[in-house]
């Protein structure tokens, strides 16, 4: 059995085992199976041929699953998918470890759902077959809904319902688009095949008007998951109400399913549509960057603030993808990973404070550095990583996304990747980053420094936790801190490995953008003539 299967089946088996074993053992089973999945994916990463080729590399041949429709069980990664799968494999055991003290009721169910969630995310990232991808992508809904609805905050029910309906609404459009692609490919070639690469090849051969609709359905569907501005309203509530572990996975990898879907399926399947719709999506992204920052500025709840900041960060990520040049695309993928690490870590930090003080209200917390210096160190580090301090991981992705957007205009870029965006988009988005620095620093100033403020009622006593972080909690945060530093100081190693996959994805774009710009110039010219 290949290692890719282990990353999916180990958590599933773990979930079954947890169901059969006593409640006390649940956390240890969850920890060990997610460790097995991490080991399996690390072993894959070590000898991964896709770093250089940029192709989907799989260890095994496809196993027919539904031969009538050419659906196969075919797992494999390219360098982008394996990065995100690795991110998930790293985050899951840390979340499990971080949940030890936070989850005190219905433990078995919690860890079982968590393992199912991990398995279905792994399936989505590992699938080479579009339907298989959809199965993983869609099934994440079920465990996540229960994680939010059972172990969430006071508004958990409406948060879970909203999350379910929004993302179901988005993903069913993705399903429709994938099915349509498969069916029309069958009509054109007589072969049923849902291999993503085959769908991409077919999608690119379609006329521009068809691609326009196709891209709208695919990217619009994924946009709910990302979430892009206007479709984002489920996110603050869901992130805020979810238990810490759930928030981490939600921000860390579930949102990345949306950006990954845009990168892997929407952009390459319908490049003409992508180019035509790029300004539309880019404007939404730019608005989101500024808008989310402004909302963050007035938040009182720390967790909600981080949730809104995710909207801005992910919007920047999508903006980088729509630059259609390798700098933007690599920056975007890099940012996906970094956002997963730093935002995930921030949620963990806030969770640790919440366990001690039972509040996330910035007005009721302050000067915690005096009580919890270790925690304050981590909180500061991850906040700086999140706001894009040079030397930490967030900076690299942000700058690359902005740079990619900046140079993505009709003039030729260094690598001859013309784009349809340009300096204006980058400038406005960059202003959002200034705002991000502001609200994050305000948040940091309030709860970490400043006069010591603690809620008086019931702190310390019921949680049974030490005043500052204990060794387990340090063990949860330290690996993420190391990753933040490493990815921030030596980005070249990962970026060079992402390059082949990104340039491969972008291959059809320069010609299409060129033609698009030429057509625009032509129409402008024509209308000028008419006016004269």
């Amino acid at each position: 059995m290949s290692a890719a299967w282990i990353t999916i089946l180990a958590p599933l088996l773990g979930a079954l085992l947890i169901g059969l074993s006593p409640a006390k053992a649940a956390r240890w089973i969850a920890l060990s199976v997610s460790g097995v999945a991490l080991a399996a994916i690390l072993q894959l990463v070590m000898n991964f041929p896709g770093w250089k080729s940029g192709l989907f590399e799989s260890e095994a041949n496809p196993v027919p699953f539904l031969p009538e429709f050419g659906i196969t069980l075919w797992l494999g990664y390219d360098s982008v998918a394996i990065m995100l799968a690795l991110l998930n494999a790293v985050l899951v055991p840390l979340c499990v470890l971080g949940s030890f003290s936070a989850i005190r009721e219905r433990e078995r169910e919690y860890y079982a759902w968590f393992m199912v969630l991990s398995a279905s995310i792994m399936l989505a990232f590992a699938s080479r077959d579009a339907i298989l991808f959809y199965i993983g992508y869609e099934f994440t809904l079920v465990p996540m809904v229960f994680l939010i609805a059972i172990w969430g905050g006071p508004e958990r029910k409406s948060a879970a319902t909203k999350y379910f309906l929004y993302t179901f609404f988005g993903s069913i459009f993705v399903l429709g688009a994938i099915l349509w692609l498969g069916v029309s490919m069958h009509a054109a070639t007589g072969v049923w095949n849902f291999d993503i690469d085959a769908l991409i090849a077919y999608g690119q051969s379609l006329p521009a008007s068809t691609q326009w609709w196709l891209f709208l359905c695919l990217a619009g569907g994924f946009a709910v998951k990302v979430p892009i501005f206007q479709l984002h309203t489920w996110l603050p509530l869901a992130h805020d109400q979810a238990p810490t572990g759930g928030s981490v996975i939600l921000a860390g990898t579930l949102l990345k399913l949306g950006t990954y879907g845009i990168f892997r399926i929407a952009l390459p399947c319908a490049p003409e549509g992508a180019v035509a719709l790029a300004p539309f999506f880019a404007v939404l992204c730019v608005i989101a960057v500024v808008y989310a920052s402004l909302i963050c500025w007035v938040q009182r709840d720390v967790k909600r603030l981080i949730a809104y900041s995710s909207i801005g960060h992910l919007a920047l990520c999508v903006l980088g993808l729509f630059a259609f040049n390798p700098i933007g695309a690599e920056g975007s993928v890099y940012y996906m990973v970094n956002h997963g690490i730093s935002t995930g870590a921030l949620f963990l930090c806030i969770g640790m404070v919440y366990e001690r003080y039972h509040t996330k209200d910035m007005e009721r917390l302050g000067g915690l550095v005096k009580r919890m210096p270790i925690w304050a160190f981590f909180m500061g580090l991850f906040t700086f990583a999140s706001l894009g301090l040079p030397g930490l991981n967030g900076f690299v992705g942000e700058v690359l996304c902005l740079m990619g957007t900046f140079i993505a205009d009709s003039g030729s870029t260094p690598d001859n990747y013309p784009g349809v965006l340009g300096p204006w988009y980058a400038t406005v988005a960059a202003s959002g980053l200034v705002l991000a620095a502001m609200y994050l620093l305000i948040m940091l100033g309030k709860i970490v420094w400043g006069p010591l403020t603690e809620p008086h009622d019931d702190h310390h006593a019921p949680s049974g936790l030490s005043v500052d972080l204990n060794w387990r909690e340090i063990g949860v945060l330290a690996p993420l801190a190391v990753l933040c530093l490493w990815l921030g100081l030596a980005p070249g190693y990962v970026l060079s490995n992402l390059e082949p996959a990104c340039t491969r994805m972008l291959a059809p774009f320069p010609a299409i953008v060129q033609a698009h710009i030429a057509a625009d110039v032509q129409t402008a010219h024509d209308s000028e003539k008419e006016q004269n």
Partner: protein, 513 residues
């Protein structure tokens, strides 16, 4: 011409079921309590045997020589119906007379043949299933009509006698009169069909009808006949414009009977539709445009009204009624698509729908409140503490209804959408997609209420159904929702084989009129 012996040989499972029904109705009147207790299990057993028989005794050559439109249809349909009906029987069999038997056990009441109806109930259920199985081998309009009536008439009685209370009787009367009206439509349609083509034999009817449609020779009578028959059959499949009885009847009937109603008449209606529409080109040359237009409107309205209606309900049974209306709308999409592949998709969807229905209703039938059905969503609150299995199965069923992959319901929807895309029905696909989102909301209530909420005042007096059969049925069918997707390839293959065209087409000259 027709060969009576080969025709009869095809009907072995139906004859067995008929015999079993007669035996059960007598056994139900036995004075010995232990013998009467055998009625429910025996009904399940005989359905399983009938299912096995219908696989073992099926002979394709005989079926072809019997002049069937779709000779192998019975190969898939009859076992499917029999096995799912066995599940439905497990839910309803022991339900009837439960309180009567309990009071007899406590010797609080004496046995009276007038009051004990379990035997009759099970016999009628078996008759109804026999009717569906007979449909699969229908060769002419009369047979089709009689089989359909054999499906319907027992269900009217089942609604009335299952609990024998006022709501049940009211539902039964409503069901009966509206059903009779629908039958009128159907008969009138059949009469017009006979008038248009001069034959009752389905295969002859198909040849003449296709010839008429091909030449464009005045086929008004034919199309009117077909449309009237469709309207009549809408009653069976709870489609617009004959859907309005469903919520009232489903609510009035006891929950185990509701489960039966939401599957068995629906299979009958869709089988009859497949056979009738096959006569005018379904799966071969394509349906006439006027009929497609009718089906298109029906499908769109049915799924939309069904889902919107379901959103507004507080009663679980009414919600399920509207949900079953919505699912008919999805299935009608396959008929609009009209390709050969679409028939397969429809048959597969029926199967997925049946399994999901059995799992969900089985879970719901596990619980009772004050001796009646638990029918409010609040009754489900905190169910996981007291009824963990029922909770899990209700959740699985609801998610499968929603079409969450990788559960069985997803593959049903998948196939329907694929066949609709193949036929270029993009608007209908959009409608199905949007409707699925609407349906997600109320299915989420089913799935989540028992798991996430804490027991409320209303749900604290929810108790266990005394019979263990519903739990068993829901666990078997609920696990099937998870396990069957692994075998979805072979399953789809067997569906496709069941609608394959006859291997040897025997050229029979049209009989002289």
């Amino acid at each position: 011409m027709l060969d009576m012996s080969s025709r009869l040989a095809l009907l072995a499972p139906e004859m067995f079921l008929f015999g079993a029904a007669v035996v059960l109705s007598i056994l139900g009147l036995s004075r010995s309590r232990s013998r009467r207790a055998l009625v429910g299990p025996l009904a399940i057993l005989s359905l399983v045997i009938a299912g096995v028989l219908s696989i073992v005794t099926f002979d394709l050559q005989k079926a072809e020589s019997a002049g069937l439109l779709l000779p192998s249809l019975a190969m898939w349909l009859r076992p499917m119906v029999a096995f799912i009906a066995a599940g439905l029987m497990a839910i309803s069999g022991d339900f009837v007379d439960q309180s009567l038997e309990a009071s007899i056990a406590k010797s609080a009441a004496a046995f009276s043949p007038l009051r004990a109806v379990r035997g009759e109930f099970c016999a009628f259920a078996l008759f109804s299933v026999t009717g569906v199985m007979l449909l699969a081998t229908a060769t002419d309009l009369i047979w089709l009509f009689l089989a359909l009536e054999l499906v319907s008439l027992p269900t009217y009685v089942m609604v009335a006698i299952a609990r024998g209370d006022r709501p049940g009787l009211e539902a039964a009367v409503k069901y009966f009169f509206l059903g009779a009206m629908a039958t009128g439509f159907l008969l009138y349609g059949f009469a017009l069909l006979y008038g248009a083509t001069g034959t009752m034999q389905l295969d002859d009817l198909r040849d003449i009808a296709l010839a008429q449609l091909a030449t464009g020779e005045s086929s008004l009578l034919l199309v009117t006949g077909i449309v009237l028959s469709i309207v009549g059959l809408c009653f069976k499949i709870t489609a617009v414009p004959m859907h309005f009885y469903a919520p009232d009847v489903y609510e009035g009937a006891p929950l185990p009977v509701t489960a039966f109603l939401s599957f068995i008449p629906k299979v009958a209606g869709f089988t009859a539709l497949i056979l009738l529409l096959s006569c005018i080109g379904l799966g071969t040359t394509g349906l006439p445009r006027s009929v497609v237009a009718v089906l298109w409107m029906m499908s769109l309205l049915t799924m939309t009204l069904g889902n919107i209606g379901a959103l507004l309900q507080h009663s679980m049974k009414r919600t399920m009624a509207y949900s079953s209306i919505a699912h008919s709308g999805y299935m009608l999409v396959a008929l609009v698509a009209g390709s050969h592949d679409a028939i397969d998709a429809l048959l597969f969807y029926l199967f997925a729908y049946g399994v999901t229905t059995t799992a969900t209703f089985g879970g719901l039938a596990c619980i009772q409140r004050a001796g009646l059905d638990a029918d409010r969503f609040e009754d489900l609150a905190g169910l996981r503490r007291t009824h963990p299995w029922a909770t899990a199965m209700i959740a699985l069923g609801a998610l499968s209804f929603t079409g969450i992959p990788p559960l069985l319901g997803f593959f049903g929807k998948f196939w329907i959408l694929v066949s609709a895309f193949e036929a270029g029905q993009v608007v209908l696909v959009g409608a199905v997609v949007l409707n699925s989102v609407v349906s997600a909301w109320y299915y989420l209530r089913f799935a989540a209420t028992p798991i996430i909420t804490e027991p409320a005042g209303r749900s604290s007096d929810v108790g266990q159904n005394t019979s263990r059969w519903p739990v068993a049925a829901s666990i078997v069918f609920g696990c099937a929702l998870v396990v069957l997707p692994v075998f979805v390839g072979p399953l789809m293959k067997s569906v496709q084989e069941s609608t394959a065209a006859p291997v040897v087409v025997v050229e029979t000259p049209l009989r002289q009129r």
